[in-house]
Symmetry: C2
Subunit: 349 residues, 2 copies
DNA sequence: TTGTAGGCGTTATCAG
DNA sequence: CTGATAACGCCTACAA
């Protein structure tokens, strides 16, 4: 490997001068700079960051610890957000996945520490309460898409499931729906309760009473291995004599099931029933026809802003108790098209 | 940061002795070992890998370069396969995403070189021909889920799209289908042509003639921004007077569209029409009811085995021209259930 | 079995 | 503006 000394020799200067040029330090003659840069290009010199870091005790590496990669594919956008932040700020990203195994997670923290990385983004692939098992290892860390268990002092950044669900429900009420079904997500998910509570609150605020709402449990059991009732429940709810005009699903994958159930009953969407989801999981939300009205989770921004929070923390400007919450926007699409206009439309036909 | 010298002082030995204990070198008294380990535990000492690597010129870090993370979510399993391999072999993973930008990719290679990583896994998120822009940077690399452009000497590991498609088609023919529709993937995808060719070859080998096959283009345009005709084409094909009894879709997301089209026409799956996909993109393939018969892409193994190939290459045992191809297995599910048994079944009713 | 000297590639300090 | 010199944390080589 070509080192700073080789460059120095070729350029006819000292190694420190090369270092100055590489690091754009002031007080170097333009002429010298040019000679050095020529030598660098000539030799294909690339600085050794490991060597640099043992002197400066900062590596400019941030680590990502993820739990379950496979379960919710699009949450990989969190990682993408982190990476883009890293590129924009001259950092590199070290990645590790625990698969939910605490022992392996302990190893990951130690390995990261061994690499002397600047900080850790502890990323949950679905919104939940977490308890990092960092053990004795002290590295600045920010929890992303997750929330620290009581007593743990980590800053965190999370999506506003409650707000998104509230807005989505208001959207339905504004469209005139007065009888609404709701198929619940796995209750073990943090977002599940927030979404349901917001739905109930918005329904109440919109003048609907409990008897206007039909609430069903869509799945239960350990996360990633749940028993799924969604299709059956959707069939059931949509077969009721006083079936709801709108069906809210805990997430987009559940909405897919509801679509299939509705179609197999011969119902048209949105003419006969409006269906909405949550997550804006595009493979589903854009794959369904008509496209699915849903709520976009700000995965990418969770990653980007999480990295930003971590950076502040590393620089000593952050707070251990910061809790940032990101907006979840309703994305209106065809599955909740305005039925009054549809009515007009069919009146024309 | 606590260093090897701190441990040495506390344990009352020289720093070299600590180094010996840490690296499990022979010729240290059990007693000394214990004293050192005690001091290590006491101080929470964790070796600095950066310092180690500047001496040994191997970092035990491998890099992953990905292109488009978002387009095909489950290909993140490739990364998971790499990570699991890394954990099992004491390596750490640096991650970078190019977003398909050549300039950014150049930076990534340089950054990786600066970290003196041992090797690179160049991972395409969909199966395609690639041309890594490593520039002057020489790092051992293996192409994963991709294929080098002519003239580029990289080993590669890829899925056997052809074999998977061939087997899938034979599966349909074995079930008695004699009139089969096919909706094509974006022709720009490497897998697209392989899948279509295998379909045609298997159909021919199964005694079907061209007139038994109905081939449609499902989408076209730049990858990630294609114009999508799948739903329309599926509606059209399934409305033909002599509609096919089976419809093969280029991938599972297209199969989703075909399901929706079939259901909206009042057709039942698989009773009236069999639909199959490709990829085993579980959100779709297991989300559809009945579940989707498809072909599993060996994403995880591509990652794991790709890492293994890279390791051999780094150790000088690999070949620049190795091309490994992984089997793609048919996953039979409800969407292609045997219709003869279904017939019997309905005869009972 | 253990310790010392020196060097890996880089940057900090300070002198010139 | 430039260059010695030392130091970072660790490991290799050799000596004790």
């Amino acid at each position: 490997m070509v080192s700073i000394k080789d460059v120095a020799r070729v350029a006819g200067v000292s190694d420190k001068t090369v270092s100055r040029v590489v690091n754009r330090e002031p007080n170097v003659t333009p002429d010298t700079i040019e000679r050095v840069q020529l030598a660098i290009a000539d030799l294909g010199y690339i600085p050794n960051l490991a060597a640099r870091s043992i002197r400066s005790s900062r590596t400019n590496i941030i680590g990502i610890i993820t739990d379950f990669i496979s379960t919710t594919p699009y949450s990989g956008d969190i990682v993408r957000g982190v990476q883009d932040w890293a590129v924009a700020h001259g950092r590199t990203v070290l990645l590790a996945n625990t698969g939910g195994d605490a022992e392996r997670e302990g190893d990951v923290w130690r390995t990261f520490k061994a690499h002397r990385i600047d900080g850790v983004l502890y990323v949950a692939m679905y919104h939940r309460v977490v308890m990092p098992t960092a053990g004795e290892v002290k590295i600045p860390a920010v929890l992303v898409n997750s929330h620290p268990e009581d007593g743990l002092a980590y800053p965190s950044i999370e999506p506003d499931d409650y707000g998104g669900s509230y807005d989505l429900t208001r959207h339905l009420i504004a469209l005139g729906h007065r009888r609404i079904g709701y198929i619940r997500l796995n209750p073990l998910l943090l977002g599940a309760n927030q979404r349901l509570e917001a739905f109930l609150a918005a329904a109440k605020a919109g003048g609907l009473s409990d008897s206007d709402l039909i609430i069903r449990l869509g799945m239960e059991g350990p996360i990633g291995h749940e028993t799924n009732y969604v299709y059956r429940e959707a069939l059931d709810v949509l077969s009721l004599p006083d079936r709801p005009t709108a069906l809210v699903c805990g997430n987009d994958e559940m909405a897919l099931q509801a679509y299939l159930a509705a179609l197999s009953l011969g119902l048209r969407i949105p003419d006969d029933v409006t269906i909405v989801g949550f997550d804006d999981f595009r493979t589903v939300s854009l794959g369904l026809k008509p496209e699915l009205t849903t709520v976009a989770l700000p995965y990418y921004d969770l990653g980007w802003q999480g990295a930003d929070m971590l950076d502040k923390l590393v620089q000593g400007k952050g707070s251990e108790s910061e809790r940032r919450v990101l907006n979840c926007a309703v994305v209106p699409r065809g599955s909740s098209a305005d039925r009054s206009s549809i009515l007009e439309h069919s009146n024309l036909g």
